[in-house]
């Protein structure tokens, strides 16, 4: 059986289990429907990167490293710095992750985290201009190291924490002086995401890996204080408007809680 088919079998098994539990008002680890697992954020875990953080939600672990570089700006924004988010699903993180080119899942995760940071306008790209044809670039790399479910929220948290830990390098004669900094990266807001799954008519926050298996679909809502900054629905199922709005309300409240860990 192929991987996709294997997932389909697991989905059947986990779905039956979770549906039975939900009927008794429980979930797989007896949390409330809108509860996060234990959240832990450790900043400054790497000395080689300009910023770093390890975020853990339950068993999920994502390390984020922020590196600065010099780059040619995009032609339509010649005076603005650039930033990009990449995600690496390390093969050591899960038996289902294999070495090779990025999967659609890792690309999606990186792009959702990227959209949150971009929409929240937390990185002042105008301040990253060096000289004509040269700007600073910020590379935000997410290393998924343990897949316990809800990688998106863990990764977004790691990224926000690593950015808030980031020091801006000194630039002399158009070049970055490594190990010399002008000060911390100013970050007016900390965008985080809250991810929900829908199973039958129930909606659960912060799914476990096994709960993700059982899900009809998933909705990620990125927030800053009082505002939604990105959303992404994934998975084959569907949601009603009322369900989306309910997720948005919970995400706005839970966003505050997540930011308190940074």
């Amino acid at each position: 059986m192929g991987d996709e088919a294997k997932e389909l079998v697991l989905k059947e098994v986990d779905r039956e289990l979770l549906t039975n539990l939900l009927a008794q008002g429980k979930r797989m680890d007896e949390r409330g429907l809108n509860d996060y697992r234990q959240v832990k954020v450790t900043k400054g875990v790497l000395s080689t990167a300009e910023g770093s953080a390890l975020a853990q939600i339950g068993d999920s672990k994502v390390l984020c490293g922020v590196k600065y570089g010099e780059m040619t700006p995009f032609p339509d924004r010649p005076t603005e710095g650039v930033f990009m988010v990449m995600a690496e699903f390390l093969p050591l993180a899960s038996p289902t992750f294999e070495p090779g080119p990025p999967s659609p899942y890792s690309i999606e995760l990186a792009r959702v985290v990227d959209r949150g940071i971009r929409s929240a306008e937390v990185i002042d790209t105008a301040s990253m201009f060096i000289e004509e044809g040269k700007v600073l670039a910020i590379f935000i790399d997410l290393y998924v190291m343990d897949h316990g479910g809800n990688l998106t929220d863990t990764a977004a948290l790691a990224a926000a924490a690593a950015l808030s830990d980031t020091k801006v390098p000194k630039v002399v004669d158009g070049k970055i002086v490594r190990g010399d900094y002008v000060g911390p990266l100013k970050m007016p807001d900390k965008p985080v995401t809250s991810t929900f799954i829908k199973v039958g008519d129930k909606i659960l926050l912060d799914p476990l890996r096994s709960e993700e298996h059982a899900a009809d679909c998933q909705l990620t809502v990125g927030t800053i204080d009082g505002r939604v900054v990105c959303m992404q629905k994934s998975g084959a199922g569907s949601m009603k408007k009322s369900e989306v709005m309910e997720c948005v309300d919970v995400a706005l409240a839970k966003g505050k809680e997540l930011r308190s860990y940074i």
Partner: protein
């Protein structure tokens, strides 16, 4: 960065009202080889979709004993934008879009009828002007129906959002690039279930709710055009002219 004016004399740059769609033209059954196909012109967007399957699953070991695997490949042509020549083939953006389009159809295509097979949705953007993923979904729905693949419902969508401080329906390129928020969204026709949803930019929960409401209304208009295109394809014998 300079933000260009998005409104002129109270109207949008192309003269549309806030809730007005760009002109949309849909033709079903324009390709001979594909089992189903559709061409969609949506404002300045031109999108073609071809469907293959249910057919043998490749690789074979990937086949599911329960269901057909639904696959989607959305790509943008190298000549699709007014700017420089793009690269042919998939990239990170198109990989993500392919994934979410596939998942949007995952709930409506009755894949369980065809175990051990795959169904391929191929969508290519020939010309882009903002809102290509929504045009791709419009084309794919019609093409799947044109291929005779059983579906629980049709999918229709539109991109809504906020530009120049106003909630607008069917964002054009400038509104997409310089507006405050963009939210492509697609619904099933009968139950108005949301099967596709992405959003970027900043919105309050109230604005977000209003966006969903106006998208639902506009999607009905798209649905009417999709049905009309299918009706015409049944009347036309031996497929229809690909009138790009």
């Amino acid at each position: 960065m300079e933000t260009p004016e998005l409104f002129k004399d109270g109207k949008r740059l192309d003269g549309r009202a806030l809730d007005e769609l760009r002109p949309i033209r849909i033709i079903a059954g324009v390709l001979k080889e594909a089992e189903g196909s559709a061409f969609v012109e949506w404002g300045g967007n031109k999108v073609i979709c071809g469907i293959y399957g249910p057919r043998e699953c490749i690789p074979k070991h990937g086949a599911s004993p329960y269901t057909a695997l639904l696959k989607c490949r959305y790509t943008m042509s190298p000549f699709a934008s007014l700017e420089e020549h793009g690269r042919t083939g998939p990239n990170r953006r198109s990989t993500e879009i392919s994934k979410v389009i596939r998942e949007a159809f995952g709930g409506v295509v009755m894949s369980g009828e065809f175990p051990k097979t795959q169904i391929d949705i191929y969508v290519d953007v020939l010309q882009a002007e903002g809102g290509t993923r929504i045009a791709a979904i419009a084309a794919a729905t019609v093409a799947l129906a044109n291929a005779g693949i059983p579906m629980k419902d049709m999918i229709s969508g539109v991109a809504v959002g906020k530009a120049g401080g106003q909630l607008v329906v069917d964002l054009g390129k400038a509104e997409d690039n310089y507006g405050e928020s963009d939210m492509p969204i697609a619904f099933t026709h009968r139950d108005k279930e949301i099967v596709f949803l992405q959003m970027d930019g900043k919105l309050t929960p109230e604005e977000l709710g209003n966006c969903i409401d106006s998208a639902m209304e506009a999607s009905e208009k798209v649905y009417a055009l999709q049905s009309e295109a299918l009706r015409k394809s049944y009347e036309a014998e031996g497929g229809q002219e690909l009138d790009i």
